[in-house]
Amino acid sequence: MATVVLDRITRRFGDVLAVDDVSLAVAEGELLVLLGPSGCGKTTTLRMIAGFIETSAGTVRIGDRDVTQEPPYRRNIGVVFQNYALFPHLTVFENVAFGLRRRRTPEAQIASRVGQALALVKLEALAQRLPRQLSGGQQQRVALARALVIEPDVLLLDEPLSNLDAKLRHDVRQEIRRLQQMLKITTIMVTHDQDEAMSMGDRLVVLNAGRVQQIGSPQALYRKPENLFVASFIGQANFLDGRPERDGAVFVTRSGVAIACARAAPESRSLMIRPETIEVLDPSATGTNVFPAILEVVTYLGSASELAVRLAEGDTLLVTQPSSPAAARRWTAGQRLSIRIDPESAVGILGT
């Protein structure tokens, strides 16, 4: 187990800056997720940590070693590839034993350690199978066992769930998380799936166009996104354009609605309100941040309903309300109601 530190790493492909001055530190035993849309540089970053591609600038440190110039086979890393990259000509046992054989581990130890690793992923029974005789989920577990058996300083996961079907993905998500916490192994995972990132990561790094947008816990990124990209990439949100007033205690939208909010920075040009933080009240309700509105569209989603409501000033907001037997009947398009915006959940955002 070790820390991983990226210090201002950059990668150019010709004229394209794939990764632009990225710095981050992964603590021992932490699961850090690199999250972003395709082409944001997350995989390139992971491949530089693994040593599959060189950095154009900056340093990569694993533990107290500067590995920037070290080839991957001297970095002591475990990698799980998107397509698993099992050795098709070797049995499950030999796939897992591969890294131990490269380390000249004695034969008796290989047998026991491979056995333990396969037990960890519950595949002892399939040790003599070839990869092509396994299902996708089983192949993925072999890949995980193969990466873990060498006791790497850091585990790198490149979109590990993207080739699994939706139901399996949910189980494997928890399985990987359980193993990672049990072994307390420093892990860096790449994904474009925000649910996956939120549910697995201790911390998330949101990347866009090769640059770090924000680093933080899933809660911090969801509740207090620092810019419009993060706010819109993670979860659903309403954005109202305008500017803060009274030292940021109130945000006045372009249409003239004054909304009390969590302290908005003077440069904020947009107010973010998550749809589930808006309360729906009777049309007669009054109080701070209560606004009369008209229900325009109702979309039933099963576990919740999505309401599009229009304020008197013309702004439209999306509101999600959990489904309840009573609520399901209550909404009809065109009806009058009031909404209350929680000031703590209304966040000023830089950029528009």
Partner: protein
Amino acid sequence: MVRGTRFPERLQRFAFQGTVAGTFVFMALPIALVLWLSFFRNEILSLPPDGYSLRWYSEMFAQRQFLSGFWTSLQVALLATFCGLVVTTPASFALTRARFRGREAIVQLLMSPLIVPAIVIGSGLYMAFVEFEVRTGLPVVGSTWGLAIGHILLTIPWSLRLVTASLAGVDRSIEEAAASLGASPPVAALKVTLPLIWPGLVAAALFSFVTSFGNLEISLLLVTPGNTTLPIAILQYLQWKIDPTIAAVSALQIAVVGTGLLVTNRFVSLAKVV
């Protein structure tokens, strides 16, 4: 797919099947003919046969030049195949895995024996060998090694095409996985990549062997009376006589190559590689 039974559909199908059958016959006929001829009793090749006998096979074994020619061809073909693969496999790695200036030029250079007429290669080699002999006093012309060197040129394009095609089909992430597990590039190549391209190597070896074994033009200028290849022994025999001995020799050659193909096909499915 349901194929339909209207007249144009049936006509199309008939035309297609006819073409396939015709092509097969066209390809197999010469082989069948040679095998048939080798059993004729006639002294001079003519149809219909007077009767059948095995005398040409015993005749073939009585003629020492055929057996020694066969032996030389076998040695040269094995040497050329082996050396060709030893040279082209690393070259294929470099050409598929690395991007560098002059890559295309090197590919063209290695493929050039297919473009340059073999007789020209033979003449060029002959002159170079003679020059080499004059300077060093070492015998090259007429030696098995001299022949093999010429034939390596023939095997290189085949090996290169087949091995690079196989390598291009190997998922790079499998090699990266090997590297992440502690395998240096030579170890990864040996333990992972080579086993994966094994069918391609076998196919390359087979094609190289067949090309070398049947080659006439390059050998023509590099053999000496005591040390001839089988195709040249056949050619020389044909200058004096046309009797079914030649057919028997050819049958032997077909048997060798055919056995090679069948045996190989048991280990790797050639249809998948070529």
